[in-house]
Amino acid sequence: MNPDLQTFLQAWTGGGHVSDAERERVLLRFENDAAFRAECMEEIRLLGLIKAVQTPPPRWLALHDALGLSVGTPAEPTSADLASCVLHLVQNESRKIANFRWFAWRPLGAAAAGIVFGMFCTSVLFAYVGPSLGKVMTLLQESFESGPAPLVTGIPQELNVWCGDESELVETYEGMKPAQGKKMVRVLRSDFAGRVSSKPSQHGDLMRVVDVRPFLREANGGEVVMTVSALFNAAPFPEAERYDGVVTLYALGQLGSTEENLYEDALALSHGECRSLDRDPSSWQLASTRFLLPPGAEFVMMKMSFRRMPKGSEDQSSLPDPVIFAGHFVDDVRASVSIRKAVPDHSTQALP
């Protein structure tokens, strides 16, 4: 890079020390050298766009005030939402503790159009709803100690039952211990006997549906944010392979979705992931996500998945279908809701 361009960018972004004299010099060149100016402009325009697309828009509180609308009024999805959606695909940093992602809800129409959307953001900078919500209730704290083994029937068709792909409950596995209690779920395959779907399957899923209507009733028009987390672990697997641990939340208007139409049925979804699980069986790795329940949501399906991903020269099509998981475990699934009731709008009350 041209040294003057570097000085210019450091002065413009504030990310590096530039003396007053250097600042003056590059500014003078910026003013008088058209080629240099064009080069600088190209860089700062791209830097600005990169910054804007990597963070979700604010809540536009003053705008809502100006419009006389309450925050949370829906807007139809647009390419901006698609961009936000795409963004979750590009957040690709491996980490022991996956970051939280916040999603806002979107109306049904866009889901039907096959777009999954969401404004998500890194946990610290933005949140669609503020971090301090009214009442927090634990929905689930599952370490698989006492219940039956998950059903191997794919997507749950009833409430409060663990279902999914081939799995089993185990106590220990080659020295690996549960994260909580004495049991954990071992995911065996990315499908189950009797699976009927034209879609490839490289995810081994464990799912459960919960009824969220009571919480929305309690919120009485306010906001309900649901959070889910799970711990993932894997026995040592070949270094040439990559597995992710993923948690996903789907807001549903009714039960009965199938693998084929779940994506379209979802009123909103969000996911968090722990990418590139390590090969150390002594460490459990957390993935977590949360979202704001959309109007019309009656149920939420939470899904914990192991995902086989291409690594190195592999491509997606070269991956086995179904995937046989050698030693992949889920434990300590936790779900909670935060309820913030709507604040009465006194301005619209009739005067005595």
Partner: protein
Amino acid sequence: MNADETDLTTLLDRIERGETDLYLQVVRRYELMLRGYLAGQLYNLAETDDLAQEVFVTAWRDLASFKRGGDFSAWLRGIARNRLLTHFRSQQRRASAVERFQAEVVRIADQQLEAAAHHDEAGRVERLLHCISRLPEKLRRVVHAGLDGARPARLAEELQTTVPAIYQLHYRANQLLRDCMTKEAHT
């Protein structure tokens, strides 16, 4: 008018007839463009978002003055440019060296920045995001971190390199992104 313009005209007509909430659709449609445009001149995201909000509020109040069938993006950017100049003027006395520098850049290149934005192709944002996802991991990390404030120094420490090297890496990433976006635009 193309389909988008017709769609926007319909939307604006409905908003003027009282369907106020539809303005949020307009905001959603243009927010990335506007925030990207402003961030390309301010870089500070908090200020960018504050100004973007002011622009949308002003546009809402002046909606009747927008000529149907016109370039709504350009109209918003026009409001944004005024707001930006006001912002720089109001900051003049207490501006940091970075802000003064940015203000000078805008003073010198305001019209060219607008002209460049005017020629941005549709779909640029989506292509950018796809292309970021295809960057090598190290470059992606640099791009995610950004270059403002103490970030380059922190990242340099993490990557055991220097701040100038972080700028070089970001520059390299930008080159790859531009190439990638150009290719994607033609496929």
